[in-house]
Amino acid sequence: MKIIVPIKQILDPSGITFRRDKERMFINREEYILDPGSKAALEAALRLKEQADGGASESGWSVVALALGEPHADDALREALAMGCDAAYLVTDPAFKDADISVTVQILAAAIDKLGRPDLIVAGRESGDTGAGQVGARLAEALDYAGITDVYALAVDRSSVRATRRWGTGYAAVRAPLPAAVTVAPEAFPPRLPHGARIMSAYREWDVPVWGLEDLDLTEADLSPRLALRREGFPPPLETGEVYRGDPDSVAQELVIALRLQKLIS
């Protein structure tokens, strides 16, 4: 059973200050981390492998991490290896710098083809920075796999994957045949801490192959983005001391509207 987990490296949000009043993003400390969505996907995949065979790698299960990013995305792949992946691959090239989601998916699909198509792809539901939440479902379509998004519980057998996914206002249990691509909800798969010895080995003993444009089967059309960024903006600064008075019912209505406007509740 082969599982591929596409992962992403993002800027560490704790090193960034967003000043709504100045309408600027200040990078106080430029550090990169393994995206939490990707970590959850790795956790989900590693759990599947452990549940199947107690984690023994002779069993034929393998979990492979694949990252498209800058050369320093190698660090994220090392962390994936430290968590327990069997192999990791980095796809990087200056030509990929302006990739949007469509281009990212084309590149990942080409890399997955080169790796040999897996039984299962497990991706994060969305990434912590751009949060588009499209990669998993797009990959399913690109590879002609069955697809299940927003999964909270996951199990797999020889020929199918069983998942509990968000549906309507609750959840639904579904089954899909392999090969399949699923995306997982981060809150359902809190990631493990990597074992110390694996952290040391991740850099010293493993090799992370690097692939560029010439290693993959991609056309120029594949690399042209579909979306263009027009503007980056900031929400208005939050005021303090805004006071609401009145009878409980009308005040409650106002506060529900205000919170929904701030995207704090649904």
Binding site: D75, R78, E79, A82, L193, P194, H195, G196, A197, I199, M200, S201, A202, Y203, R204
Partner: protein
């Protein structure tokens, strides 16, 4: 010159920090209040390979070297000095002495389980009449066939009551004194004759246990002599020397936590209409803390690098412990002052930090001993011996 950490150590630091935040910090207040060792934390640490950070993987360790060990101690020191003490005594002097002076058989038999956290270690040197004057120990080891019979009582032994393996210093030849008359033995605490006496009621690090260990006709096979027969003094000096750098790292973590807490409070607390962080009396204290912490950080990790690259480091390691404990003292003291009455409240962690810090100037060689070590190293090239 490249002052950056190797990448695996940076990843390790992130893991250690998260471990400290999720496993150690939530228990810190309770173990201090209830005066108990956090066994669950130790188990969780063992699962992640943290109980053997500096040791090579072939001995069940993590392969992180002294640098990795200092990183662990720093991250633990940020949140709980008690936990740092429990794990530090286990790794830094108990297991470390077996690593530095043990035979391959001893390493396989004792170091591996310690490094994997399946066994807990302690280091038994101090006695009631022998603290700084370590050579004044009276525990005896008398040969009987191919065994030694040990009799005596050790005091102030960290992990003494929870250890499976304890390295005991005993006098094998009273006539020879410190050099030639003391031997180190690896003792298993379950052997008959080994018992625990009283437990210390301490000002701080109350989440660690400090025990009296009594040996009554404990029979130790001669294969368990650690290092050379009669050269026990050298064995314990070696491991204490190396241990000092990591103690400095623990103090670094504690000092840094004091700084962070002070900054957080100073930003929030308003007096005279402004946050106290804008008052010079406060921010000067904070600036002083930060400057000292920077100096300590460079000292600790340079010393760790020297240890990892096999360079002489005795003076630097002693400086780590001496300077580190005093920096930690000044920082936590300033932190109490900055927090005002809140710094005096048992409901807040600052007073625990203040109580916990004080031992760092006393244990593992008092700061007076550190000064003797540094001076002795400075004057040795001139052929001058510095007496204790």
């Amino acid at each position: 010159m490249d002052f950056s950490f190797p990448k695996e150590h940076e990843l390790f630091r992130r893991m250690a920090r998260e471990f400290a935040e999720t496993e150690v910090k939530p228990r810190a207040k309770a173990i201090d209040r209830e005066h108990r060792v956090p066994h669950e934390t130790v188990k969780a640490a063992a699962r992640l390979g943290l109980m053997g950070v500096p040791f090579p993987q072939k001995y069940g360790g993590m392969g992180g070297g002294e640098t990795g060990y200092c990183i662990l101690m720093e991250e633990l020191g940020r949140v709980c000095t008690s936990t740092t003490t429990v794990i530090g005594a286990h790794i830094g002097i108990a297991a470390m002495s077996i690593y530095l002076d043990g035979t391959e058989e001893q390493k396989m038999k004792y170091l591996v389980p310690l490094a994997q956290g399946r066994a807990i270690g302690a280091f038994g040197l101090t006695e009631a009449q022998a603290g700084s004057d370590a050579a004044a120990i009276k525990t005896t080891a008398v040969r009987d066939g191919n065994e030694f019979v040990l009799n005596g009582a050790k005091v102030f032994i960290t992990n003494g009551d929870i250890a499976d393996t304890i390295v005991i210093m005993a006098v094998t030849d009273p006539a020879l004194g410190a050099y030639g008359g003391i031997t180190a033995f690896i003792v298993e605490t379950e052997w008959p004759g080994f018992s625990i006496g009283s437990l210390e009621n301490k000002m701080g690090i109350r989440g660690s246990s400090t025990a009296e260990c009594v040996l009554q006709d404990v029979r130790v096979p001669q294969e368990n002599i650690l290092g050379q027969f009669g050269a026990g003094f050298l064995t314990f000096m070696k491991s204490l020397d190396v241990g000092r750098a990591s103690l400095g790292a623990g103090c670094l973590g504690g000092a840094w936590a004091a700084l962070e807490a002070s900054m957080q409070w100073a930003r929030a607390r308003e007096q005279f209409g402004v946050p106290i962080a804008t008052k010079q009396s406060i921010y000067f204290m904070i600036a002083d803390m930060a400057a000292e912490i920077e100096a300590l950080r460079s000292l600790v990790y340079r010393t760790a690098w020297m240890i990892d690259t096999g360079q002489p480091h005795i003076l630097e390691a002693a400086a780590c412990k001496l300077f580190g404990s005093e920096v930690a003292h000044r920082c936590i003291d300033k932190a109490v002052q900055i927090h005002g009455a809140l710094g005096y409240s048992r409901d807040y962690e600052i007073e625990r930090g203040w109580r916990d810090q004080r031992i760092t100037e006393i244990y593992e060689g008092t700061n007076e001993i550190q000064r003797i070590v540094i001076a002795a190293n400075l004057f040795r090239p001139y052929g001058m011996r510095i007496p204790t």
